[in-house]
């Protein structure tokens, strides 16, 4: 079977996008209001942007200066919002939180999320999670979402939530399209390309991310786009603009979420190894130097933005790395990547995670071997780039010290390529179409178990009192 091209490619693209749209809509309808992790905080941030408050240059809290400690007057979550947003009043912040909390209570959020406690009448976000805010995140995603919310900024908060989720659905569709393009760079085999696109579109936690308000949704799309551009470069696209665009997207991504830092490494690799052989050492030198400058600038930016990503001192950093490298963190990372429900307060059975682990392990090892042995239809440089991105993404999780599956999402496109390679590439060309059918059926079964055996029953059937 040959590459995906011509009329067949257009047909496949159309079918993949229609299927992904329907799939994304299914998740959009199935996920109950406020059931995306940290969704109330993300929406709060964006609604203030939609109210035309600039997401920088706010007023810092007085913590005792002149005998005034504003923490006595306002919850810390509200003071943190004020520190971020220019010109927003304390009353406006408090009102928005109360509005969101009332909606959360009405939609049984506190009965669905086991760690949140069942009490439904709360007055500020600190009463859900103390010392927490989304406004320590970079403003990129919230600026985009704030603009997206402009037409509905006076509507009920549930309408704004649904509208905001619509942006995530669009980002999901854009990502699926990008991954299909990436797959066409990675594979000159139709079955493998379709498998990668399906793996991305049907991976349940990824599809679910297309139905909730979260900056990881945009980080994932940017991750796929940067990887696709770099893959094109490695596949022989010599246009200078390709890597410039990729670098620009990384810069944009760093204004979205710290987890896209891994993409800078991917661009550096594509820069170093994508050019002509004679210029490789020069490129390596420029790549390393440029990378160091970018990393320094980003760390400074995060510091001035009060990002929680940065540890306060060396001891805190070491403790974080120790926690990040622990088996417990990797276990959490795996469980919340494969399937976590109700803000990760509920899970699949351990057997499900074990079976998924075995399958993923086999796929990864098999794909890794493809780096050293020729597999027909697989681009080894692109596959290597995908492995590099996955490795960097896991490294970021270790450095962050928190294992949550959605932190892997900037590398989701890479993972889709790795899984498709690992499970289908060892088959002969003749057997790959049949292998694709089996691969897809497994994927669809996993999705059915996730949605109808996990997400819907946990959100709709099992409520605490």
């Amino acid at each position: 079977m040959g590459a995906l091209e011509g009329a067949d490619r257009r047909r496949v693209r159309r079918l993949v996008l229609v299927a992904a749209l329907l799939h994304g809509l299914a998740y959009l309808l199935a996920v109950a209001p406020w059931m995306g992790e940290d969704e109330p905080w993300h929406l709060e941030y964006a609604t203030h942007v939609a109210a035309l408050h600039r997401p920088w240059g706010g007023e810092a809290a007085k913590l005792g200066e002149g005998g005034v400690d504003e923490r006595r007057e306002w919850p810390t979550s509200q003071l943190q919002v004020r520190r971020r947003m220019a010109g927003v009043s304390e009353e406006e912040i408090a009102q928005r939180q109360r509005e969101i909390l009332a909606s959360m209570g009405e939609h049984a959020y506190f009965r669905r999320v086991d760690w949140a406690g069942a009490v439904s009448d709360r007055t500020d976000f600190d009463q859900v999670e103390p010392f927490f805010t989304a406004t320590s995140q970079p403003p990129g995603y919230y600026t985009l979402l704030g603009l997206w919310l402009l037409p509905v900024r006076h509507a009920a908060i549930e309408t704004q939530l649904l509208w905001a989720r619509g942006l995530s659905l669009l980002l999901y569709l854009a990502s699926v399209w990008i991954v299909l393009e990436l797959a066409c760079c990675a594979f000159s085999d139709r079955s493998l390309a379709i498998a990668a696109a399906l793996a991305f579109a049907w991976f349940p936690m990824n599809a679910r991310l297309g139905a909730v308000v979260n900056n990881d949704a945009l980080a994932r799309t940017l991750g796929a786009a940067v990887l696709m551009l770099c893959a094109r470069r490695l596949a022989g696209d010599s246009a200078r603009g390709t890597l410039v665009l990729a670098a620009a997207l990384v810069a944009l991504g760093l204004l979205v979420k710290s987890t896209v830092m891994s993409l800078a490494g991917v661009v550096a690799l594509a820069w170093m190894f994508g050019g002509e052989r004679s210029a490789r050492w020069r490129n390596v030198l420029f790549g390393v130097a440029g990378g160091a400058v970018i990393v320094g600038a980003v760390l400074w930016l995060w510091h001035v933005q009060h990002s929680p990503v940065l540890p306060r001192n060396v001891d805190a950093f070491l403790a974080r790395v120790q926690r990040g490298a622990s088996l417990e963190t990797f276990g959490e990372l795996w469980r919340t990547f494969v399937g976590g429900f109700n803000w990760y307060s509920r899970e699949f059975s351990p057997t499900t995670y074990a079976v998924a682990g075995v399958l993923a392990g086999v796929a990864t090892l098999s794909a890794f071997s493809a780096l050293f042995h020729t597999r027909r239809g697989v681009s080894r440089p692109v596959l290597g780039l995908c492995f590099a991105l996955v490795g960097l993404q896991v490294l970021l999780v270790v450095l962050r010290g928190e294992g949550q599956g959605r932190y892997l999402m900037p590398a989701m496109a890479a993972l889709a390529v790795v899984f498709a390679t690992g499970l289908l590439a060892p088959l002969s060309n003749f057997r790959r179409p049949a292998g694709l059918k089996l691969f897809a059926m497994l994927l669809f079964t996993y999705d059915a178990l996730f949605l109808w055996g996990g997400l819907v029953p946990n959100e709709c059937l099992l409520w605490g009192s």
Partner: protein, 338 residues
């Protein structure tokens, strides 16, 4: 289409498989912080609830072994309230009680007409036992100091709730303080009342008082002092004084007594009707329990319809058609078919 139907059948089976795992009523508490303490002879601990379905057949109660000799627990289920008609009894022998933190199941002959009715169950022991039921207090909890490692001397325990150092973090993060829970080593059933006085740490002005008992014994559990909500408690300094009856003592550590502060609202689902001790209401709290009734397919679907609404039906349709379209990708390419 056949493949899509096959996958849809898997989804449907996965959904219906839940019918055995859906409690009628359940208090789901991921972080269990406060235990009621041992059950004293003559002072059964109880809980009221409203059943959703017919066929009530079992109650699970979350118990924590807290040391000492395990004793059998007798269970009584009454219709209405603590003084209502006795409808079922059950007993778990000492050896069958959970060896670690877990559920103890009291099973009985199913009650055919339990739907929509109020019930009350009570757990009784002949003497102080080794197991304590977990309690969920209705409020937003903030742990000032977790369960300590020592009994504190003295019949009067005083201390401060501070906003800043020497504490690592503030003791009072939220406004609207309405309850303080103190870890209690022992209070005899015949002991007098315990009294809490809360005053401003700077001015000494008494702000609130509260009392517990008499007749509310406690052994290795938490005592909850509820008072009229104090609004401006965020990052404030307060002074507390606990006066204990003879023989009673608190638990704490070197810094002071173990305390959980409760703030904010207290509204919970109306199918839990509150805990009791010897039939008397223990305000604003519930034992951590779950009730099991009929597990029919129709009960599951009714709950899905009620809580999920039409959007779940539309989600199912969109999901199915997504499958149908995606399965078309698995066919031969355009050129081959032509």
């Amino acid at each position: 289409m056949l493949r899509a139907l096959l996958i849809a059948a898997v989804g449907l089976l996965a959904l219906l498989a839940w019918r055995e795992d859906l409690p009628d009523v359940e208090i789901r508490l991921q972080q269990r912080t406060t235990q009621a303490g041992r059950i004293f002879g003559g002072h059964p601990l109880g809980q009221g609830f409203r059943c959703e379905h017919d066929g009530l057949r079992a109650l699970d109660v979350a118990l924590a072994p807290i040391g000492g000799d395990a004793r059998a627990i007798d269970f009584e289920l009454r219709r209405g309230g603590p003084g209502g008609e006795l409808v079922r009894r059950a007993r778990i022998e000492a050896a069958a009680l959970p060896a670690s933190d877990g559920w103890a199941r009291f099973e009985f002959e199913p009650l055919a007409d339990s739907a929509g009715q109020d019930f009350h169950f009570a757990l009784a022991c002949e003497d102080r036992n080794a197991h304590s039921p977990w309690v969920r207090y209705r409020g937003v909890p903030y742990v000032v100091r977790p369960w300590g490692d020592r009994a504190l001397e003295g019949s009067v325990v005083e201390g401060e709730l501070l906003p800043a150092p020497p504490r690592a973090q503030t003791d009072l993060h939220h406004g609207d303080l309405h309850t303080l829970a103190f870890a209690t080593n022992y209070v005899h059933p015949q002991a007098g009342a315990m009294k809490l006085t809360l005053s401003d740490a700077l001015t000494g002005e008494v702000l609130r008082t509260a009392s517990v008992g008499p007749g509310i014994p406690c052994d290795t559990g938490w005592m909850f002092f509820r008072f009229e909500t104090l609004a401006d408690t965020r990052w404030r300094a307060l002074r507390f004084k606990v006066e204990l009856p003879t023989g009673a003592s608190l638990i704490g550590n070197a810094e002071g007594p173990s305390i959980v502060a409760y703030h904010g609202g207290s509204r919970v689902s109306d199918d839990v009707l509150g805990a009791t001790c010897a039939g008397a209401p223990l305000p604003q709290r519930d034992l951590v329990f779950r009730a099991w009734s009929s597990s029919t397919r129709s009960a599951l679907l009714a709950r899905l319809r009620e809580r999920g609404g039409e959007r779940i039906l539309w989600a199912a349709l969109a999901w199915f058609f997504a499958l149908v379209v995606a399965l078309r990708l698995l066919g031969r390419p355009v050129e081959e078919r032509e």
